[in-house]
């Protein structure tokens, strides 16, 4: 039996791929002294029943030791954690850890052991700055005996793509690597020689491809961690349309090769502060010409979206913009700032914070967030109340003084809510004449009942509900008892760790 000719070159190519890892001159991969097992027990909040937590679950991943006695993992591994524990590979001791800093947008978290001595004689890893398409990398896993088990992979794409939080798009690497499923998660570090190339955040077993948080994003995150107070990754705060359509380009009298059409500018965003307006055409960012789709040619990664210029910039600076408005050139300066959380009407991901709510006489009020809508499952866009989905999706169009979208999420049947059972989710506009822009406004408004009643004005049918002020107060204990409510409100802001 002999191999048919076409197979032979393929086999040789496979061998060639495998060779560099085994080759004598390849730089060594990190040993067990740079890897930490991380066991995270997490418990998600139930945003539909905001006073409850869902059952806990445990995930295991592998963290990487970095300088400063810290352990790096993805934010997803420790999201809504209740207990995080570190374990040295092949050693019996475990120690609890605290989450020093987490950035859900960048999908990164830093852990520190309760006992600093726990990381004695570990070897911190450096970050790879030279990962490009075609580069050989190795995904770290651990044998049960603590020996690192590396799976080779190759970088197939370097791009800027949305991260899991739905927040912003950042640099990511896609690799091709046939991973075995171990340790019940794919939260694994990936190395280019001795240096960290990135953290694995998604793995598709069928196509054997993985997406990584790229090392430059990690380095950027650590640079931001070093500057207190922590501020997240900057973003311009605009949406744009490509200018591919030649009829559209002629209408705009665009004779340049590229440029993008500004569709909207978020309130309070750097884009708004720069003076950008819908209808402007951005031709250059930081001197880099943009193509018709908004890409520029990056020295390291080739053609990638210009948002990378914003998100990867060092904190605190600004970028010059070459803009065309009404056919005339214009120079603007884009300040590099993260989004001010206070300007966010409906947050994309609420992590490590209990959902806020306020219960008044059986009426449950809460604030709109993507986390709430996602309680309707994967099809939340069609399953969740249509108006709330709309308000979340088009929140940039709400008035500047909107605050949060406070709405009646549920009616707990009680003597006080008799006849109100069918009132579905409905936005609250005023209570006792007080405009409701955040839950705290309800706490203020209920101190001013009108002739003994709370007058609750809603956006949609039935538009108005009344509660007996005294009975609402008297029923509080009974309500807590019958529905097992630990408290009738949570107005805490629970700052991020």
């Amino acid at each position: 039996m002999s191999l048919r000719p076409p197979l032979l070159p393929a086999l040789l190519a496979l061998l060639a791929l495998a060779l560099p890892l085994a080759a004598q001159d390849a730089p060594p991969l990190p040993g067990a002294a740079s890897l930490i097992r991380v066991n995270a027990t997490n418990q998600n909040y139930n945003f539909a029943k905001p006073w409850t937590k869902r059952p806990p679950y445990t995930r295991r991943g592998i963290g990487t030791v970095i300088e400063g006695g810290r352990v790096l993992v993805t934010a997803e591994l420790v999201a809504n954690h209740t207990y995080v524990e570190l374990e040295r590979p092949g050693q019996p001791d475990k120690t609890p850890a605290t989450v020093l800093r987490v950035d859900a947008d960048a999908n990164l978290a830093l852990l520190v052991p309760a006992d600093p001595a726990f990381l004695a004689d570990t070897v911190p890893v450096p970050f790879a700055t030279d990962v490009r398409v075609g580069r050989q990398v190795a995904v770290a896993q651990l044998e049960t005996n603590g020996t690192p088990a590396y799976t080779p992979g190759i970088v197939t794409t370097t791009t800027v793509s949305p991260y899991p939080s739905d927040g912003i798009a950042l640099l990511s690497y896609r690799i091709s690597a046939p991973l075995q499923y171990r340790d019940n998660s794919f939260t694994l570090p990936v190395f280019a020689g001795p240096a960290l190339a990135g953290l694995l955040m998604r793995y598709d077993a069928r196509s054997q491809t993985a997406e990584l948080v790229a090392a430059p994003v990690i380095a950027n995150f650590l640079a931001r961690v070093a500057r207190e107070p922590y501020r997240g990754f900057p973003r311009a705060g605009l949406t744009f349309a490509p200018t591919r359509d030649p009829q559209f380009r002629r209408y705009l009298a665009l004779d340049e090769q590229g440029g993008v059409y500004v569709a909207s500018v978020s309130k309070g965003s750097p884009a708004e502060k720069s003076g950008l307006k819908p209808g402007d055409v951005i031709l250059k960012v930081d001197g880099h010409p943009l193509d018709v789709d908004g890409n520029y040619v990056d020295a390291d990664y080739g053609k990638i979206p210009f948002s990378h210029l914003v998100s990867s910039a060092t904190p605190g600076g600004s970028l010059p913009l070459d803009v065309r408005r009404d056919g005339k050139p214009l120079q603007l300066t884009l300040p590099l700032e993260p989004r001010d959380p206070a300007t966010i009407i409906s947050e994309t991901a609420i992590l490590d914070r209990a959902p806020r709510y306020y219960i008044l006489g059986g009426l449950v009020f809460t604030e709109l967030s993507r986390s709430y809508l996602k309680e309707w499952g994967g099809n939340w866009r069609s399953e969740a109340p249509a108006r709330l989905v709309y308000l979340d999706e088009f929140q940039d169009e709400l008035p500047a003084d909107q605050g949060k979208v406070v709405f009646l999420s549920e009616v707990l049947p009680a003597d006080t809510t008799l006849g109100y059972d069918d009132v579905g989710s409905n936005r609250v506009t005023r209570i006792n004449g007080v405009p409701i822009r955040r839950l705290e406004d309800i706490a203020l408004a209920v101190k001013k009942p009108q002739a003994g009643f709370h007058r609750i004005e809603l956006e949609s049918d039935p538009k108005i509900l009344f509660l007996d002020a005294r009975k609402s107060e008297e029923s509080a204990e009974e309500l807590k008892r019958s529905y097992g409510l630990p408290a009738l409100d949570n107005l805490s802001a629970n700052p991020l760790p």
Binding site: A263, L465, F466
Partner: protein
């Protein structure tokens, strides 16, 4: 409600060609029951310049006084040809629609040849049958050549949506007769009097042996309405109301604990009560009938929804409403007229309206369109779903969307706007399809089409559009470029 179906006329291919010996048919079958055969053509909403596909169907009807045949509107909707046949007479009598009421699913037909009525006996409309009483249902279920009779018990009398229009609710009577598609339009008889017209039911996987008939008050109202030769539609207060049995709500509104009154929670602009009532008014009585706090009224000893009082009235009549406004009693007389918005009603016997420009097809986003196409643009879905609730009809008469793209170099970059709603064209606000037609007919160098919520305007060059015109029309077989009139 999704599983509710009309006992729609069956396609001819489904007809069973069996011939059964039919001896001594009862008098109702031989002298009053009518088999209705139709050829209908439903408008094509995805290629609106086409005439639509042709289908055949079978339904039932019965002879009423005045040489007329009563049936369901849905039996003869979109009909191109209608034939009537009598039991034991092979002749097919061509007929025409004298009156059709899509809002209550009833129609009156007239054979072109009055000899059809020789030997026929009109049936008389009776009263609502009593609960638990037995009724007989006559029709042509599963499309058979010969009449079928089934027996049922009157199970329930309630207010319910009529699925033919999908937007109107009237009184219905539920019976447990095993009736099937093809019964539509057939008489439901008790003691020789018509006590209903069989018209809709549930499919078997939702509920077994559940059929609905249109009861005498609805039939009589329809016949009375058309007595002057014209159908004037149901009238409506055009309000929403909210029950008032919460004690705090009652006291806060200054109402005694007497179980009376509902809150007027929404008024629809342009409706009958629009300028006469206010949101927040408490409705205590209509025409002297007390309104209970759950919205029911007592008529002739039975509890029905308050709308039933308005249901029995006609255009031009008024309703007297006793209200509490700002704590003070007030009586208001409301001249009644139909509900002004038809966006959520299935419409029939009208050609679809559309406009083709540069290979872009524009159509109104209405219930008929939604029935055939899933709307992918979330803005347009919002505009449609909240058109009445959020008073969006104040900004536009209808939602004009880019429904289809007939791909051509002139519209290569239009795909992102599929199903988006047109907001402005060359700075002119677009309130309806005619506005769009006018804006696109006005001479210009560029046609700048702004869509609701889109990230950029769609720009078409006039020269490119006219160069593409014949090419697109012939390539896609577009026989007509617009239909602006219903």
């Amino acid at each position: 409600m999704a599983a509710k179906f009309l006992f729609a006329a069956l396609a001819a291919s489904q007809l069973l060609g069996f011939s059964a010996a039919w001896a001594a048919a009862p008098e109702i079958i031989s002298r009053s029951l009518v088999r209705i055969q139709t050829v209908s053509q439903d408008p094509d909403y995805s290629a609106p310049w086409n005439a639509g596909s042709v289908e055949q169907g079978v339904g039932a009807g019965f002879v009423i006084s005045g040489n007329s045949v009563l049936t369901n509107a849905h039996v003869v909707s979109n009909a191109r040809k209608i034939w009537l046949t009598r039991e034991n007479d092979p002749k097919r009598y061509p007929a025409r629609i004298a009156h059709i009421a899509h809002d209550c699913d009833l129609a009156v037909l007239e054979p072109l040849d009055a000899s059809f009525f020789h030997g026929m006996k009109p049936l008389t409309i009776g009263e609502i049958p009593a609960l638990e009483s037995t009724v007989m249902v006559y029709g042509y279920p599963i499309g058979g050549e010969h009449a079928s009779v089934t027996r049922g018990i009157v199970s329930r009398i309630e207010f319910m949506e009529y699925s033919h229009s999908g937007a109107d609710s009237h009184l219905v009577v539920q019976i447990d007769a095993a009736i099937n598609p093809g019964n539509s339009g057939g008489p439901v008889v008790q003691n020789g009097l018509v006590v209903g017209v069989a018209f809709q039911g549930y499919s078997g996987d939702v509920a077994q042996n559940t059929g609905y008939m249109i009861p005498p008050p609805v039939i009589k109202r329809f016949l009375k309405d058309i007595a002057d030769g014209r159908y004037d539609h149901y009238v409506d207060l055009s309000i929403s109301w909210f029950p008032l049995y919460n004690p705090a709500a009652r006291s806060a509104l200054g109402l005694p604990d007497d179980g009376r009154g509902v809150l007027i929670s929404k008024l629809y602009r342009g409706g009958a009560a629009d300028s006469l009532l206010r949101e927040g008014d408490v409705l205590l009585a209509i025409d002297g009938y007390d309104v209970a706090s759950d919205g029911s009224v007592e008529i002739d000893g039975s509890e029905v929804e308050l709308a039933e009082i308005i249901e029995r009235k006609f255009r031009g009549e008024s309703a007297r409403l006793d209200l509490i406004r700002d704590g003070k009693p007030l009586t208001v007389t409301v001249p009644l007229r139909p509900f002004p918005y038809t966006i959520y009603a299935n419409t029939y016997d009208v050609q679809s309206r559309f406009l083709v420009f540069g290979g872009l097809v524009f159509q109104p986003l209405d219930q008929n369109f939604v029935n055939t196409t899933e709307i992918t643009n979330s803005r347009s879905r919002y505009l449609f779903d909240h058109f009445l609730e959020d008073d969006l009809y104040q900004q536009r008469d209808e939602i004009v969307i880019l429904s289809t793209i007939l791909s051509d170099p002139v519209n290569t970059y239009a795909e992102e706007f599929r199903h988006a709603a047109v907001d402005r064209i060359n700075d002119r606000p677009i309130r309806n399809l005619a506005d769009a037609a006018a804006a696109l007919a006005a001479p210009a160098k560029y046609y700048v089409i702004e869509f609701v919520g889109a990230s950029r305007p769609l720009v078409l060059e006039a020269e490119a559009v006219s160069a593409a015109r014949d090419r697109i029309l012939s390539r896609y077989g577009v026989t007509k470029e617009s239909n602006l009139q219903p």
